[in-house]
Amino acid sequence: MKRFLVLLIACLAFPVSAQTGLPPAPYANRQLDDPQQEAAARELMEELRCLKCQSQSIADSNAPMAGDMRSQVRERIAAGETPEQVRSWLVERYGNWVSYNPPIASAVTWPLWFAPIILLLAALWLARGRFRKPKDDE
């Protein structure tokens, strides 16, 4: 089974790269053999922006560049990198634009992550005022 797959990858990779002139992207539309690695790669791909598209993740885009990025992500995960390492490598190359998950420890994006707590507290405070005064019945 393994040998067959390797053969298949080999057949797939070369003619595609020869045809399009792009760097070979063997894993653009191929899953990793290890289901756990594939799941980790899949989860990460859903959180990465396709840079050539309007509003899609690389996990669901037909653009060739998204295919290249999928292949990169899978290869790096298969080589043993953690999803966060792959993500920071991509952020280094393309900036925060590429990741749909804004970092918490950043001067620009931390308010986003604190907004839920602040808003919830504000809502509770608002409600408290509503229930506090039992004086006027109409």
Binding site: P15, Q31, R49, N96
Partner: protein
């Protein structure tokens, strides 16, 4: 001639809107009864003229009149009838004309049928409605004339964006627009009531059907849009927290909150100022949604108009209406009493929890959607806020909201005993705990949010029927059934969402005809691939035999379509629906070895997402019929009583 007639009708409608506004404004100031009498027929005439103008635009599209610029840019003579028809609003100008048409017709409808509101409030409402319409008329006539001619006349049009060439186009935009416009009516009611300082249960009862109607349409529109994206884009995603999706979700969240607070106002004459505020917010959200989508500030398939002039025009309208309404609210809120008191553990208390949670979720969606724009404007840095943020920020709140939804309908108005509540919801709590326990035991790899969501959905599904417990089912009012079905629909949709995110299986292969693909209990045989031709496209169609574990066999044929006019490719996914899920098969590109990329997904229970959405809308519809019937009966009784005195 047709185009010119349409333009004249549009100008006349705009003039009538101006007249309608003037009659209302001057009439209220001078308190002139004859002005009040005149405003109703003017509103009806305005509605008729703008509807006539829209019909003529449809006619131009159906005839493929290539002397009209809009038709040339967005249509082609060799296009199926339904897309010529729906293509009328599949573009910027047409969709704006649709908006103002629905608004004009809504005004006409109020003028003809609204009888329970005080005359002064009704007049103020119609004047406010005309004032909003005027902005859109100005927008259409100044910068987006749909009837503009083109010379020389080209032989053929440029066609419609292939992604939009789908039956979804006939359905999705109009339903959302009905929803947006319904909220504009609720807004006009709120403005009318603020002007005449007449905020109370009667006002709430007059406004409620419009809120309910808008909410039903928004629910259907979002559900349809989600399913459309799911099958059309070919990757099986049903919600991506895309800014355009958020633009339709925000008005829905506000409308949901408004729907619940207006019920408190109508039943208990409480939460007056809060309801007014929500009405203002709900309409603001639909305006902001329109601005975000139409201005091209978020480039996407929805932004037909990437044009800064139009963007600034909508922004100016936005500032005028929202700013004006907020100012009016600030001026009048001091004179509006909040109304009757209630305690924390009460039906009102649960509805306040509903409102606060929905408002916080709304604020988070709003912040998350606009944050990247803000940061880019201030620092020039580009950043993305997407599903990981929205799921984590709003998911837990949404689950709290669902829990409140289970408990709320079982509470009494004004004051209730926490212990008896616990008694009433002990069974749903047990079911949730049991579901949670068995899910933890028997499944792997579920996220915490999906786990809690699925367990909670099981309990809430049961709890949503609890309001019918020990009641005489034949004497239970229709709107109670509506609430039960809508709440049950939320639980159903939640099951679909949790299952889709947790149990989806994926298989990506490169296959030759004759190869087999397997996923879950399915065995797929790739039989053949054949070229075919449609009215305005050519395609490669794959023939696949799909066999389920129990032996049933289905033939499916996913396609890869090429549209001649636009030189674009779309993939037409093949979907096989069973009671326990959906098989999703997509044909990708081929390689030089004769192999084809085939993507296969098995998505357990995914149709429940949209089925739940439809149930929610159906519940709303039943509630609306129940309320309208009850209102009609009460009015007849009152009239009868007055007549016999």
């Amino acid at each position: 001639m047709i185009a010119e007639t349409g333009l004249i009708a549009l100008w006349l409608a705009a003039a009538l809107a101006l007249l309608q506004f003037a009659l209302g404004a001057i009439g209220l100031r001078a308190d002139r009864q004859e002005y009040f009498k005149a405003i109703r027929p003017v509103a009806v005439a305005q509605g008729l003229f703008v509807a006539f103008s829209f019909l003529l635009l449809i006619w131009l599209f159906l005839r493929s009149d290539m002397s009209v610029r809009l038709v040339v840019m967005n249509s082609a003579s060799v296009k199926p009838f339904i897309y010529k028809f729906a293509g009328t609003w599949g573009n910027h100008e047409g969709s704006m004309l649709l908006w103002v048409t629905v608004m004009g017709l809504a005004g006409a409808f109020i003028a003809l049928f609204e009888r329970s509101l005080k005359t002064r409030t009704l007049v103020a409402t119609l004047a406010a409605q005309a004032f909003i319409s005027l902005g859109f008329y100005a927008f259409l006539l100044v910068s987006s004339n749909p009837f503009e001619r083109m010379f020389p006349i080209p032989a053929e049009g440029q066609g419609l964006n292939p992604l939009l060439q789908d039956p979804g186009l006939a359905f999705h935009p109009p339903t959302l627009y009905f929803g947006y416009v319904g909220l504009s009516v609720a807004f006009s009611f709120a403005v009318g009531a603020m002007i005449t300082r007449d905020v109370g249960a009667d006002f709430a009862k007059a406004m409620r059907p419009w809120v309910l109607g808008a909410w039903i349409f928004l629910t259907l529109g979002i559900t349809a849009g989600s399913y459309w994206a799911y099958y059309e884009l070919g990757w099986g995603g049903w919600w991506f927290w895309d800014p355009v999706e958020n633009a339709s979700l925000m008005p829905w969240l506000a409308a949901t909150a408004l729907l619940h607070s207006v019920t408190v106002l109508a039943t208990r004459d409480s939460l007056r100022a809060w309801t007014l505020m929500l009405a203002v917010v709900a309409f603001s959200m639909s305006m902001i949604g329109t601005f975000l989508v139409r201005s091209g500030i978020l480039t996407s398939v929805h932004a037909f108009a990437v044009d800064p002039e139009r963007g600034s025009f909508i922004l100016a309208l936005l500032a005028l209406y929202i700013g004006g309404a907020m100012a009016l609210f600030a001026l009048r809120v001091g004179t509006v009493k909040e109304g009757k008191h209630f305690e924390l553990v009460s039906r009102e208390g649960a509805l306040v929890a509903n409102n606060l949670l929905l408002s916080v979720i709304l604020a988070l969606v709003f912040i998350g959607t606009l944050y990247p724009l803000l940061v880019e404007a201030l620092t020039g840095d580009k950043l993305s806020v997407g599903p990981p943020y929205f799921n984590l920020a709003t998911g837990p709140l949404a689950l709290m909201l669902v829990a409140a939804m289970a408990a709320g309908p079982l509470l009494r108005w004004r004051r209730d005993n926490p212990k008896t509540l616990l008694n009433r919801i002990s069974i749903p709590i047990l079911i949730t705990a049991a579901a949670l326990f068995s899910l933890v035991l028997f499944t792997t790899g579920m996220s915490v949010l999906a786990l809690l969501g699925l367990a909670l959905a099981a309990g809430v599904a049961v709890a949503s029927f609890a309001p019918l417990w020990k009641r005489n089912l034949r004497r239970t009012p229709l709107h109670t059934y509506g609430m039960v079905i809508a709440h049950f629909g939320i639980a159903v949709a939640l099951v679909g969402m949790a299952c889709e995110s947790s149990f989806t299986e994926e298989n990506l292969v490169a296959a030759k005809p004759g190869d087999e693909i397997s996923i879950n209990k399915w065995k797929l045989k790739f039989d053949a691939i054949e070229p075919m031709a449609g009215p305005n496209w050519t395609a490669l169609e794959s023939r696949i035999t799909a066999q389920y574990g129990d032996g049933t066999i289905h033939e499916i044929a996913p396609q890869n379509r090429m549209f001649a006019a636009a030189q674009t490719q779309t993939s037409e996914a093949a979907l096989l629906t069973r009671w326990n899920g959906q098989l999703y098969v997509v044909l990708g590109d081929g390689d030089s070895q004769g192999r084809w990329q085939i993507r296969v997904w098995w998505k357990p229970f995914v149709p429940l997402i949209w089925f739940g959405g439809i149930l929610v809308a159906l519940g709303g519809f039943l509630a609306m019929i129940g309320r309208l019937r009850r209102g009609y009966k009460q009015r007849k009784q009152r009239e009868y009583a007055e007549a016999t005195i």
